[in-house]
Amino acid sequence: MTATPSELLAVMASRELRDDTTVFAGVGVPLLAAALAQQRQAPRLTMVIEGGIIGPRIRPGRLPISTNEMRAAHRAQMLPGITDTFLFAQRGFLDYGFMGGAQIDQYGNVNTSVLGGDYWKPKVRLPGTGGANDIASLCKEVIIVTAHEARRFVPKVDFVTSPAWRDGGDSRRRSGLLFGGVSRVVTTLGIFGFEPESRRMRLEALHPGVTRAEVQAHTGFPLLDAPHVTATAPPTPDELDMLRALDPERRFLG
C-alpha cells in the first residue's frame, strides 16, 4: 500500500500532534492531518480554523476549499469570529500551527507575498499571508508542511511574510516575537528541525527510501544534520485507510 506525496505529508504531519492540545489548521493537507490525528493518538485535540471556527468536524466529500465557509465550520463547537480566534493564539491557547509556503529559507522563514522586483511592482504577486504571519508569530509551535522542491527551499526568501528564526540565533526574540517559532518542517522527503544555537535547518529523519543526498539535491542551501538522523516509519495501512476515508474524492490527496 504506497502513499501519494500528499498522503505521506498528511500522515507524517498528523504524527506530530499530541493529545490534549489545540491546532491552527489551514484547509487541505493540514486539516486532513489534524483530523487523522484526532482519530488516532489525539482524540482530545481541538482543531481551530482561522475563519473563526473552533472544533469543526470535517465532512468527507464536502471538504472546505477555504477557511471561511460552511464546509469548514461544519458541526463546529464555537464560531468566535476571526480576530478573536487569532487572539486565542496570542494569549497562548494555540499549541500548534500548520503552515506552507512558496519559499522557505534555512531559518524557516516563509514567503507567500512577492517574488522578485519591488514590493509595489513585483515580478510575481502571490496571494499574501492570510493568517500565516499570525500563526508563525503567535502559536506555541509551528509546523511547516510542504512538498520538498529546490525552488521552494531557498537560501534567502525574497520577502519575509512569516518569520520563523529570522536571521538565526536570538534574532526572532530581538525582533519582538517573544514566543513560539517553527519547530518542525515536514516535507515529502523527510522531517527537519533547527539547530538550537544557530537556528539553521537540519535533517532529523528521512522518509522510507529517501537518501540524504537526494534531500540535499532538492534543497537550495546546505543542510545540517541532527546528532542522530533517523528514518521515519512508513504510513501504516491503518493510517492510510483513515486518511483516504476523509477525502474519498481525493480532492487534496492527489
Binding site: G51, R59, N68, G81, I82, P127, P163, R166, S171
Partner: protein, 323 residues
C-alpha cells in the same frame, strides 16, 4: 501610491470621533433603496467590506457601487475575492488593503490581482489577518492603536508602516497596530429590523468592528424583521440601529458568495468565471461585469441570470451543512 507611510486619516482617532459626534445617531427608520444606499459612497472613499473571502460579501452593494461608476477607491478587506477583481477591472479601485487575495485553493493565484498589481496599476497593501482585524477593532474602540505580538520581524512592517510601542509596565516593545477608520462600511447580514438593528448567524467575521469603525454604515439584509423580533432576541443583535445609516432588503444579497445557513457559495460559477479569465484575462471580467453588473436593472434581474433552480440547490446545500 507605493508609499509605505500610513495615511494619517487611517489612525486619526480624534478626527474620527469628531466626525461621529457631529452625526445624528438615530433610532429611527433606516430602510431605503440600493441606489440611495450606494449614493452614500463618494469617489476616493476608503471602503471597508464586510464578510470574508466568499462569505457574506455585500455583493448587492458592490454591484451598486460599480453601477454608480465610483473611482479612486481604497478597498479594505481581510481576505479579498471576486469583488476585488471586479473593482480592479472596472477601474474603481486604486489601492487594496488585505491579508490575502484570490478565490480559493482549486483556482490558484488570482490572475486579475497579478495583472493589476504586478503592473503597478493597483497598490496591494498587505497586512496580516489579525493585524487587519485589530486595525478595525482599534477604530471600533476609538483608540489610535492596539498593542499586539504579531507582524513583528516580518517584511510586512515596512509595507504598511506599522510602528512599535513600549509597554509602560514591562518595558517590552510590542507592535502598535494602527487604527483604520473607513469612510464607509458595506455589510450584508442575515436579518435587521427597519431601525437598523442587525443580527448575524454563524461566523461573525469582522462586521461588528467594521460597523463601529466607519463614519458611514450601509447594510443589506436577507430578511427585514419586526421590531418585536429584535426585542425577543436582543442577544442576537451585533450592530445597533444608531450605528446604521442605510438599510436595504436584499435576499441572496451575497450571491454567488455564501450566506451562512442560507445558501452555499456557487463553486461552479467560480469555476466558469476563472476558466474564462484563464482563457481571456481581464477582458473576461469586463464581459462578466456587463452581463452581471451593468445589464441587469435590478437585483432580481441579476438573480434571474443564475436561475431559481440553482438558488434552491445552494439553499439545500447550506442546510445540509448547518442543520
Amino acid at each position: 501610491m507605493g508609499d509605505p507611510d500610513l495615511r494619517a486619516s487611517e489612525w486619526d482617532f480624534v478626527a474620527a470621533r469628531r466626525r461621529l459626534e457631529s452625526k445624528a445617531k438615530s433610532a429611527g427608520e433606516k430602510l431605503t433603496s440600493i441606489e440611495d444606499a450606494g449614493s452614500r459612497v463618494a469617489d476616493a472613499d476608503r471602503i471597508a467590506v464586510g464578510g470574508c473571502l466568499f462569505s457574506r460579501t455585500p455583493m448587492a452593494l458592490i454591484r451598486e457601487i460599480l453601477r454608480q461608476r465610483r473611482h479612486g477607491l481604497t478597498l479594505v478587506r481581510n481576505l479579498m475575492c471576486t469583488e476585488g477583481e471586479f473593482m480592479m477591472v472596472a477601474g474603481a479601485v486604486e489601492r487594496v488593503m488585505t491579508a490575502w487575495m484570490s478565490i480559493g485553493l482549486p483556482w490558484g493565484v488570482s490572475k486579475i490581482m497579478r495583472h493589476y498589481v504586478e503592473s503597478g496599476a493597483v497598490a496591494l497593501e498587505e497586512w496580516s489577518h489579525l493585524a487587519l482585524g485589530l486595525r478595525f477593532r482599534a477604530a471600533a474602540m476609538g483608540v489610535p492603536f492596539l498593542p499586539a505580538l504579531t507582524m513583528l520581524g516580518s517584511d510586512l512592517v515596512g509595507v504598511g508602516g506599522m510602528k512599535t510601542v513600549t509597554d509602560p509596565y514591562s518595558g517590552e516593545s510590542l507592535a502598535a497596530v494602527p487604527a483604520l477608520f473607513p469612510d464607509v462600511a458595506v455589510l450584508h447580514v442575515h436579518r435587521a429590523d427597519r431601525f437598523g438593528n442587525c443580527q448575524i448567524d454563524g461566523y461573525p467575521h469582522m462586521d461588528a468592528d467594521i460597523a463601529r469603525a466607519a463614519a458611514t454604515v450601509l447594510v443589506t439584509a436577507e430578511e427585514i424583521i419586526g421590531e418585536d423580533e429584535t426585542r425577543r432576541h436582543p442577544d442576537r443583535t451585533v450592530i445597533p440601529g444608531f450605528v446604521v445609516d442605510a438599510l436595504v432588503h436584499v435576499p441572496f444579497g451575497s450571491y454567488p458568495h455564501e450566506c451562512y445557513g442560507l445558501y452555499e457559495a456557487d463553486y461552479d460559477h467560480f469555476a466558469a468565471y476563472t476558466t474564462a479569465i484563464d482563457a481571456r484575462g481581464p477582458a473576461a471580467v469586463t464581459d462578466y461585469l456587463d452581463r452581471y453588473v451593468f445589464a441587469p436593472a435590478g437585483f432580481d434581474d441579476y438573480l434571474a441570470l443564475f436561475g431559481g433552480e440553482r438558488l434552491a440547490t445552494q439553499q439545500r446545500l447550506a442546510r445540509e451543512l448547518t442543520a
